[in-house]
């Protein structure tokens, strides 16, 4: 059981997909203009990664080695289509602000990477824990990034104002350059933290 727990926590800290493995950067930076958009993206991503990891772990013995990549892509794109159409039907506003990034989950390197590196070689239970950990790590970072940008750029978090109305929004934070700037600082802080942890 302890190894399943390890598969779960490694995605959140030690092998965080965004800060350490540097995968899946495109949606991270593009949709993190507000905390709620970022969280919506995290949820969509979690569903796709979870379902495709489970299915790929189920069929891993039936798929011939040579055609595994097209098979994985087809499985992933089926789940991406489900998310895309569900979101369009029930959450049209979120779907509009996420735009092309929902169908682009299909080429998200994290999903493909986990399918290839983990789900194709491990049992369903282990793949499930791996997918859960990775998605939580992804959702956590993208939501923090969205919250930081929204706080400085708009003076609010999850659309709730936190500063008095006299606050002058730091507009650059919600424009594209702000995303690069904040993730750069987050990576530097992460390096500093892991360095401090290593010395102890």
């Amino acid at each position: 059981m302890s190894s399943l727990g390890k598969e779960f926590t490694k995605g959140i800290f030690k092998e965080n997909p965004i800060l350490i493995i540097m995968l899946g950067l495109c949606p991270t930076l593009a949709v993190s203009t507000s905390a709620s958009d970022a969280f919506g993206m995290g949820a969509a991503f979690t569903f796709v990664l979870l379902m495709s990891n489970i299915v790929i772990a189920l069929i891993r013995k039936a798929v011939p080695e040579q055609i595994r990549i097209p098979v994985y892509i087809t499985v992933i794109s089926a789940f991406v289509t489900i998310v895309d159409y569900t979101m369009k039907a029930y959450l049209p506003a979120l779907s509009r602000s996420l735009g092309v990034f929902v169908p682009l989950i299909v080429v998200n390197c994290i999903v493909m990477g986990r399918a290839e590196a983990f789900a194709s070689k491990n049992t369903i239970a282990a793949s499930l824990m791996d997918a859960l950990g990775m998605s939580i790590g992804f959702t956590l970072i993208i939501t923090i990034l969205g919250a930081i940008r929204e706080i400085f750029g708009n003076g609010s978090v999850f659309k709730q104002a936190i500063f008095p109305s006299t606050y002058q929004p730091f507009l650059i934070m919600i424009l594209p350059p702000g995303a690069f700037l904040v993730i750069g600082f987050m990576m530097a802080i992460q390096k500093w933290l892991s360095d401090k942890g290593g010395k102890r």
């Binding site: 097209p70 892509i73 991406v80 289509t81 092309v100 702000g178 700037l181 750069g184 802080i189």
Partner: protein
């Protein structure tokens, strides 16, 4: 916003500079940070992306308008585009290896990487989303491809200089690269609003 009303030049300019795919739209960042520590590799990747992007998004446009729409299958868009691109890249690789070995040596190693390059898929999606006609969608994709090449070459040049500069310890490597990208993005943002784009 890009639409059918704009002239060809404005579509090209908007796709290349104002809505630069890397610095403003944040698409294909994995290759942007992964490959840009080498100027020559960046240029090679840029050329390969332009070629594959233009060809595969023209094919996707035809697949969408001549197959998916008449048979009312538009919900298969994601799956059919990614398979079209993967097949096309495989086919190109085999064709170039046999008939243009010089080109193959220049582009060869980048071609397999392009299947997972989101810029190719994204430009096919965006050309459909903007409801462009065929000619305009080709021009649009050429613009996107040149924008990608332009940004990645400039960025690779800057990173070669940064590797020799004194950078604070914890900012070495990726953090400083992101902050550099932030300033490049700021510079490109200055074009926003030009010609009303």
């Amino acid at each position: 916003m890009i639409s059918n009303d704009l002239g060809l030049f404005l579509i090209f300019f908007s796709a290349m500079i104002v809505n630069n795919i890397l610095l403003i739209r944040f698409i294909a960042l994995c290759s942007f940070f992964g490959i840009s520590n080498n100027l020559q590799a960046s240029a090679g990747m840029g050329m390969a992306v332009i070629f594959v992007m233009v060809m595969s998004s023209s094919i996707s446009w035809m697949v969408y308008h001549f197959i998916l729409i008449p048979f009312d299958l538009t919900y298969l868009r994601t799956a059919s585009f990614i398979l079209t691109i993967a097949t096309f890249v495989q086919f190109t690789e085999m064709f170039i290896r046999k008939y243009a070995p010089v080109l193959y040596r220049a582009l060869g190693i980048y071609l397999p990487l392009i299947v997972v390059n989101c810029a190719v898929l994204a430009s096919a999606f965006l050309a459909i989303d903007y409801e462009l006609n065929f000619i305009k969608s080709v021009i649009y994709t050429i613009g996107v491809g040149f924008g990608y090449t332009f940004a990645i070459i400039v960025f690779a040049g800057i990173r070669e200089r940064i590797s020799m500069a004194p950078v604070p310890k914890y900012f070495k490597g990726y953090p400083i690269a992101f902050i550099t990208a932030s300033f490049m993005s700021l510079a490109i943002l200055g074009f926003k609003g030009l010609f009303g784009l």
